[in-house]
């Protein structure tokens, strides 16, 4: 039975600017429709048009029918009785989607009270029950949004949306901006909701991998139009539209072998026992952002540093970038100990160490033209202006930008183009060591692939690549180091680590990577991490991963005592190392 049907839906903001052109869709009860497309393809506009929540200046034509009723043209008052009761929505970016000054329990209870005549106490009880349903401890009902983690906030939004058991649930990028591990948990909640309620679900995402595991049918959008639609297997196995093929191609896949052959050059960066603690005023605690890590990067080699947000990977990068004495431990770049540098040597070394930042929008000066952004590091380090101009053109070409981009400002470039400028800026000084801080995290799937290809072509120096998921770095890195709570828990060559992860955390991260294949995605036996990364401020005795460790849960009491009492140490000296008392596979010597 079709619950929601849109016919020839068109949305215009100005006379000629159509955000949505003649889109048709229908969803049945107990069915999940996945809508996939790049940002700007009209997915969110479509969702808001279905809900009747577009800005007032938008003109909507066509038809949206919920059951037998036409929704277009109804007044705000009439739609209010439908929204949240029969049709509800889960928004992306839960931080801004929740009212910052009211408790989450209060906000969920409000969703109940808007539509039914129940008392405050009953609504509060229902809110607690809903929180339990989506896997948030009901005592957190009194918390404000900023006191919850990103994953919990997203669960709160889901709880709010299912409060009145709607027959249609629209989820707009419910897992964007979440860690892969948490992403998996949130998708599981949606799956449970579907099974329990039999609601029709519209799942919107830019990521085909996310949709593959849950959707029954998929619709691919581009520039406000539907380009392809069909059963999920068909879309993934035999896509017909070029846009679909492009989207599928741009997803990094773990099941393809890594293409980079290993290098064996001289050591460019050596980090040993690096520690960075922040003292916080609140509760007088210490945040152990980086708590003793060691690794090296060789000439021509790319080392990936991977972990969930808050694990200390960016802090480690910034400590290296500072080129000064670390709090504890040793950093040496090109054989020079950064603690012993004088100002002149440090300046010379700055030229050799460059960084590409995550957010190209905020890391490029909005008041400078592209040419000036690229020329600045050159001129700062003494290149004559005329030579710098020539070099700017070379750089633009080398990152695949047109000469015409020179005169543009960052805001007039697309995200992918901006990140190219960021890479060109970093390459301008021909660094010996390049640091990449999640260079593609903020990009669309297709620009991701382009930028990754660019990075891949240009990576002939030593590189330290920071990323929050394993899929991204699979193709690029020679070696990978997995970080958890300020420590490296496993390090080794990419094929070894991905092929047979030794640390339970590495295994869980790998399992959390969405597979863009509906059959494999549903069949695989995943190890899902429970809970969220624990507080960096607590440092429990023994293994820090214990509370989330799926392996720990299966150990005998005697085996557990080792995890509880001793902090697992990394054995030095071998190519592949793991910090675990009970690794999944034996690595190195003596294990």
């Amino acid at each position: 039975m079709t619950v929601l049907r849109a016919t020839d839906l068109t949305v215009r903001y100005a006379r000629d600017v159509a955000a949505l052109r003649g889109v048709d869709l229908s969803v049945e009860a107990n069915e999940v429709l996945g809508i996939v497309g790049e940002s700007g393809s009209g997915k969110s506009t479509l969702a808001l048009a279905l809900m009747g929540l577009l800005p007032e200046k938008a003109r909507v034509d066509g038809s949206v029918r919920l059951g037998a009723r036409e929704l277009l043209g109804r007044s705000d008052a009439q739609l209010s009785r439908i929204r949240g009761r029969e049709m509800s929505m889960v928004f992306q970016d839960a931080m801004s989607a929740l009212t910052p000054v009211r408790t989450v329990g209060d906000q969920i209870a409000e969703a109940v009270r808007v539509h039914s005549r129940v008392g405050r106490a009953a609504a509060r009880a229902r809110a607690a029950e809903l929180l339990g349903l989506v896997g948030v401890a009901s005592r957190r009902a009194g918390a404000y949004p900023h006191e919850l983690s990103g994953g919990m906030r997203q669960r709160v939004l889901i709880a709010m949306a299912i409060a009145n058991e709607p027959s249609v649930l629209i989820a707009d990028e419910p897992t964007a901006s979440l860690d892969v591990t948490v992403q998996g948990q949130v998708m599981d909640v949606l799956r449970a909701v579907k099974e329990a309620s039999g609601a029709a679900i519209v799942l919107i995402s830019h990521d085909l991998g996310v949709v593959a595991g849950l959707a029954d049918r998929v619709m691919v959008m581009r520039a406000g139009r539907m380009v392809e639609s069909g059963p999920v297997e068909q879309i993934y196995r035999a896509p017909t539209a070029p846009d679909t093929v492009e989207l599928l191609r741009s997803i990094p896949r773990l099941d393809e072998p890594s293409v980079r052959e290993s290098r064996d050059g001289s050591v460019v960066l050596e980090v040993d026992g690096l520690v960075k603690h922040y003292r916080t005023r609140r509760r007088g605690g210490t945040v152990r952002a980086v708590d003793g890590i060691a690794f090296d990067v060789r000439e021509g080699e790319t080392l990936a540093l991977v972990g969930e947000s808050g694990c200390g990977k960016t802090t480690a990068l910034m400590e290296i970038m500072r080129l000064s004495r670390p709090e504890k431990g040793r950093i040496s770049v090109l054989g020079e100990d950064t603690a012993r540098l004088n100002a002149a040597r440090r300046r010379a070394l700055r030229q050799a160490v460059q960084i590409v930042f995550q957010d190209s929008r905020s890391s490029l000066n909005p008041r400078m033209r592209v040419a000036d952004i690229l020329a600045e590091p050159l001129i700062t380090h003494g290149t004559p202006v005329a030579r710098a101009r020539e070099r700017v053109s070379e750089l633009l070409e080398s990152v695949g930008l047109e000469p015409g981009h020179e005169r543009r400002y960052p805001h007039s470039l697309s995200g992918g183009e901006r990140q190219r400028v960021g890479i060109a800026r970093a390459l301008a000084l021909e660094p010996r060591l390049l640091l990449l801080d999640e260079p593609i995290a903020a990009l669309d799937a297709s620009s991701r692939a382009d930028v990754m290809n660019l990075v891949e072509e240009r990576l002939d120096m030593a590189c330290l690549f920071v990323a929050h998921d394993l899929a991204t770095v699979h193709r690029l890195a020679h070696r990978v180091a997995v970080m958890h709570l300020g420590r490296i828990v496993e390090i080794g060559p990419v094929d070894d680590v991905y092929g047979s992860p030794a640390h339970p955390y590495t295994r869980a991260l790998l399992d959390a990577v969405p597979i863009p294949d509906p059959v494999l995605a549903r069949r695989r036996d995943r190890v899902v991490l429970r809970g969220e990364p624990p507080d960096l401020m607590e440092s429990p005795a023994g293994c820090r991963f214990r509370s989330r460790c799926p392996r720990y849960a299966m150990l005998t009491a005697t085996e557990r005592s080792l995890c509880e009492e001793h902090d697992p140490a990394m054995l030095p000296g071998t190519d592949r190392m793991v910090a675990c008392h009970h690794p999944l596979v034996g690595v190195g010597t003596g294990r």
Partner: protein
């Protein structure tokens, strides 16, 4: 929160003490009470003037440090010294504070509450006729000086009185001499209250409109509408609730300053409040009165700041977490 408030309190006490001292030193250094005595006819002998000034701790021939010491010792015992004609400053200060509060409180509260509501309403109707009307009205009010507004109101009230044939509006002083009924007081306070209220209203509605525009398209307002709230209730319960928090902080600070800013209204309507006293005392070179009012203002602003911290903390939990 308690520790945070204590820290803030200590901060403000130190800041208040500094402000009070600087206020006294500035007044004592700049004002010339001697001129008032020497200008009298017949001119009193120098020795008499000196003795009188010394008795009142106003003598500019005593070193500033000594005068400050004597004054500060008095303040610590709650003694504000004496005016240049020898009456205690303290009693008069409290009496006039009462007058000022009676003059300002109702207008300030009404004006700011209405300003917040109307400003929010204007933002919700952005670009429409209602918004344009409110915006141009409040711009006009901001642009018109208080005393012009007061006089215009008096003219209008006079016309209204004539038209009705009864004196409904009164605008000279706080009460009619010889009468002390509550109704009489109300009659006298209508016009000054409207004056204060309108100026406050104009400022607050402008601020609130700008704050409200920021949350008009906020994601959380959209979430509230997706729950089934109508646009108006989503904007009031979620948008305004968020956008009013910075306003509460502003309210506390602004009311501390309002006390002194009421001088024009006091003058025009003949209320003998703090502001009027300050201006007159500066003219007379009455150091102790000016210093006492400075002291009052410092305490007022400090405690208003403290109140604003509390209010902001109560209204916005994120502030609590950040401390």
């Amino acid at each position: 929160m308690a520790a945070f408030l204590l820290r803030r309190l200590a901060n403000r006490l130190a800041l208040g003490a500094l402000a009070v001292s600087l206020g006294y030193l500035l007044a004592a250094a700049a004002l010339d009470p001697r001129a008032g005595y020497e200008g009298r006819v017949p001119r009193p002998p120098d020795a008499v003037v000196d003795a009188r000034l010394t008795a009142l701790n106003l003598n500019d021939r005593t070193p500033l440090v000594d005068r400050y010491g004597r004054w500060a010792a008095g303040i610590l015992h709650g003694d504000f010294g004496r005016t240049s004609d020898g009456r205690p400053v303290g009693g008069e200060l409290w009496r006039r504070l009462g007058v000022s509060l009676r003059l300002l409180t109702v207008g300030a509260v009404l004006g700011s509450v209405l300003g917040v509501l109307v400003g929010a309403y204007a933002a919700m109707r952005r670009g429409r006729a209602a918004d344009r009307l409110i915006s141009s009205g409040s711009y006009l009010l901001v642009a018109v000086p208080v005393f012009v507004l007061a006089v215009l109101l008096q003219i209008a009230a006079g016309a209204a009185n004539d038209a009705m044939g009864v004196r409904v509006f009164q605008w000279v002083g706080e009460t009619t001499p010889g009468e002390s009924g509550f109704f009489d007081r109300v009659q006298h306070s209508v016009l000054p209250t409207i004056t204060i209220g309108l100026t406050q209203f104009a400022l607050y509605s402008r601020y609130q409109r700008a704050l409200m525009l920021d949350v008009l398209h906020a994601d959380f307002v959209r979430t509230a509408r997706a729950k089934g709230l109508r646009r108006r209730s989503a904007l009031l319960r979620h948008g305004l609730r968020t956008a009013v928090a910075p306003m509460a902080a502003y309210f506390a600070y602004a009311s501390g300053l309002l006390l002194l800013g009421g001088v024009f209204t006091e003058k025009v309507f003949g209320w003998h409040g703090i502001g009027e006293w300050l201006v007159d005392s500066i003219g007379r070179g009455d150091v102790n009165v000016v210093a006492a009012i400075g002291c009052l203002a410092a305490c007022g602003v400090s405690s208003a700041g403290l109140v604003s911290d509390v209010l902001h903390g109560v209204l916005d939990p994120r502030v609590r977490a950040a401390v």
